[in-house]
Amino acid sequence: MSQDEHPGLTREQLDPFAGKSCGPSRQSRDPIAPSDIRSWIDAIGDTNPIYVDDDASMATGRSSVIAPPAMLQVWSMAGLGGTSKSTTQDPRKELFALLDDAGFTSVVATNCEQEYLGDAVPGDWITTSEVIESVSDVKDTGLGRGHFITTVMSFTASPDPLGDGELIGRQRWRLFRFAPKNRGSGGQAGGDSDRPPRPRPAINRDNAFFFEGTLAGELRIQKCDSCGTLRHPPSPACGACQSFDWSTVAMSGRGTIHSFVVNHHPQVPAFDYPLVVALVDLEEGVRFVAEMPDTDREDVAIGLPVEVRYRKQEDDLVMPHFVLAEGSSQ
C-alpha cells in the first residue's frame, strides 16, 4: 500500500539539503563547572576518578581533571523550557515540511554516534554547530516507508568565550521520517513503535522456567519428581503428593481446543480484534491457555487440533500461541 501512496522524495528534492548548516552555532550558557560534572557522574554512576581527581587525571598524561566525554552534548543544550533560536533559520524546517507533505509524518530517532577528539576541562566554553550530512533515498523498514536524515554536530572548547575553540568531538544523529504501516496486518509481533506494549507476564521463582523454555523454543511444564504428576499453572509443590522437588518436561505442543473466547470489547491497543484465545488440552494431559492471533474466528471450534508456535514479543520475552493443525477440518 505505502509504495503507491508514498513514492518518496526525489534526489533533486533532497540533494540541496546535504551540507546545509542548521542555523548559527550555539554556545554553552556557562563555562564548564566541576559541580555540573559531579552532578552528572553521580546520576550516571560513572566512577572514573579522572573527572574529579587531578592526580588521577595527571597519571593519564593530562594536566588536570577533564569533563566526561559523554557530556559532549550536555553543555550547549538549551535547558528545561529553553527554546532553540535555530528554528527561524533551520533548513530542517523546510525539509520536514516537504516530508510531511509527502506523507512521512512520523518520526523516530534511530541512532546516535559520538566521536571524541579532545578533552574539555573546567572553565571551557563549548560551542556547537550542526550540519545536515545526508538524506537517504526512500527506504522500506519494519516501521514503514520513509527517509533517513543524518546530521553532524561539531563541538569546540575554548577557555575564552570569544575565542576560537579546539575541536573536541562530533555527534552523528540519525532520524527516520516515515509513513507508519497500517495496523491490523502483522502488528502482533510488536513491530509498531507507536503501539503500546502488551501486558507482560510477572515472572518469579515459581514460573521463570516456563519463559526460559519459550526462549529456547520449548513449551515446558512442571513435573513432580516424586510422583510424576504434571502441573500447570506452576506451583512450588505437588498437590498430589506434597513434594517440593520438581523438574520440567517439554510438551509436544500439540493438543485440542477445550474451549475458546473471541474478544471484541474492550479493545486494548496492544492487540488486534476480534481476538481468539483458546484453552487447549495438550496431548500430555495438561490444559494451557494461549491466543490464536492468526486464526479466523469462524474457523475455531471445540475439539479441533492445534499446534504451538512461538513469537518474540520483547527482547527477552518469547510467547507461545496456537495455530490450527495441518489438515484439521473447517
Binding site: 506494549p197 502488551r198 501486558p199 507482560r200 507476564p201 510477572a202 515472572i203 518469579n204 521463582r205 515459581d206 514460573n207 500447570h232 499453572p233 506452576p234 498437590g239 477445550h258 474451549s259 475458546f260 473466547v261 473471541v262 474478544n263 471484541h264 470489547h265 474492550p266 486494548v268 496492544a270 492487540f271 476480534p274 481476538l275 484465545v277 484453552l279 495438561v286 490444559r287 494451557f288 491457555v289 494461549a290 491466543e291 474466528r297 471445540i302 514479543q313 510467547m319 500461541h321
Partner: protein, 391 residues
Amino acid sequence: MSMLSGKTAIAGIGATEFSKDSGRSELQLAAESVLAALNDAGLTPADVDGLVTYTMEKNPETEVARALGMGNITYFGRVNFGGGAPGAVVLQAAMAVATGVADVVVCYRAFNERSGRRFGAGVQDRGTEPSAENAGYAWYTPHGIVTPAQWAAMTARRYMHDSGATTEALGAVAVAARRHAATNPKAWFYERPITLADHAESRWIAEPLRLLDCCQESDGGQALVIVSAERARDLPQKPAIIKAAAQGIAAPTAMMTAYYGDDIGHLEEMTLVADQLWADAQLSPADIPTAIIYDHFTPYVLMQLESFGFCGRGEAKDFVRDGNVELGGRLPINTHGGQLGEAYIHGMNGVAEGVRQIRGTAVNQVANVENTVVTGGAGVPTSGLILGADG
C-alpha cells in the same frame, strides 16, 4: 452442621442511589450507606463495634468510623476475592456476633465503579512485581484475556458446549432481570425491559457473551447491620434470620480462571457452598420460593441453579424457559433486577433484596417467603446465605 444457624440476623439495610456517576467520593458513598443501614435498624453509629468489608474495598474501616463518629471498634475483618464475598462478610459478622466478639457489626461495600476505576476494563497494565497473585495473571493477560467478561467467556463456552445451553437460555436470564428492574424505581434499568430478541441482537463483548449477558458497572454503596437474633427482635424491622452462611474454595477453584478441572462448567466451590447451606439451614430447594443468584454474567446463573439443585446438571437451560425465573414462575430470581438490571454493588445489593423478600417489603414481592437463598460471585472463591423469617 455449624453452630451459627439462627443465632444472628440482618437487622438493617441501607444504600445510596445506584448510578453511573455518583458525583461524590467513594468514602461518602460508604458513610451514607452505613448511616442509612443503621437508621433502618434503629441504631446509631455509637452502637457499632464491628466492621467487615471486602479486601477490594478502598474505604478503610478507620475512615468510615471517623466519618460517622463511631466509638470503639472491637472487630474488623476483610474477605478476599471480589464478588465472591457478599455471603462471606455476613458470615464473618455473624461469627463475631455469635461469639460475643462484637454486638453490632456493619458490612459495607461502596465504590464509583463506573465513573471511577471500571472493573470491566480488566487488567491491562504490566504489573510485574513478582507476587504469586501477579504471576497468576501471566497465563492470561499477555494473551489478551484481560477482563472479567473474557475470563468468564472461556468457562461459559465450555458450559454451553457440554450442556447444550444456547443464547436463548442466557437471554432468558437477562430478560428476567430486566423485567424485574423495570418495576424497581431504584434500578438503573427502571422501566427499561428487554426482549429475547434485544438480547440476541446485542453486540459481542467476548463470545459467547453479548453486551446483555454482562452486568452493569455502577456507582453506589450498600451496607448491612448484623446483630444477634435476640437483639433483632427488639429492633424496628422484621429480622432476616441468618439461617446459614458459608464460604467455599474447592480443589479446582481459581479467581475467574478455573480452567483446569475435569468439568469447568461445574462450579465446585458453589456446590460446596450450597451443600453447607442446605445442611446448616436444614432446608432443600423445595423450601425456596425466590432466590438471589449472583448475575455478573448470565451463563453463571444457569450453572448456579444447578449447583444449588434447583434443577439437575445440564438442565438449567430448560429450567429458565417460559418465564420460570420471572415473577409468577417456579423460582423468581433477582427480583430487584439483579446486577444486570438494578446495579453492580459486588452482590451486596442482592443481600439487601433477600432481606426485603423476608420482610415482605420488596417492590417485586413474592408471596409467603419464609426462606431465600443469596449467592456470591460465581467462578471465584465464593459464599452464600440462607436468610429466613423468625420463628
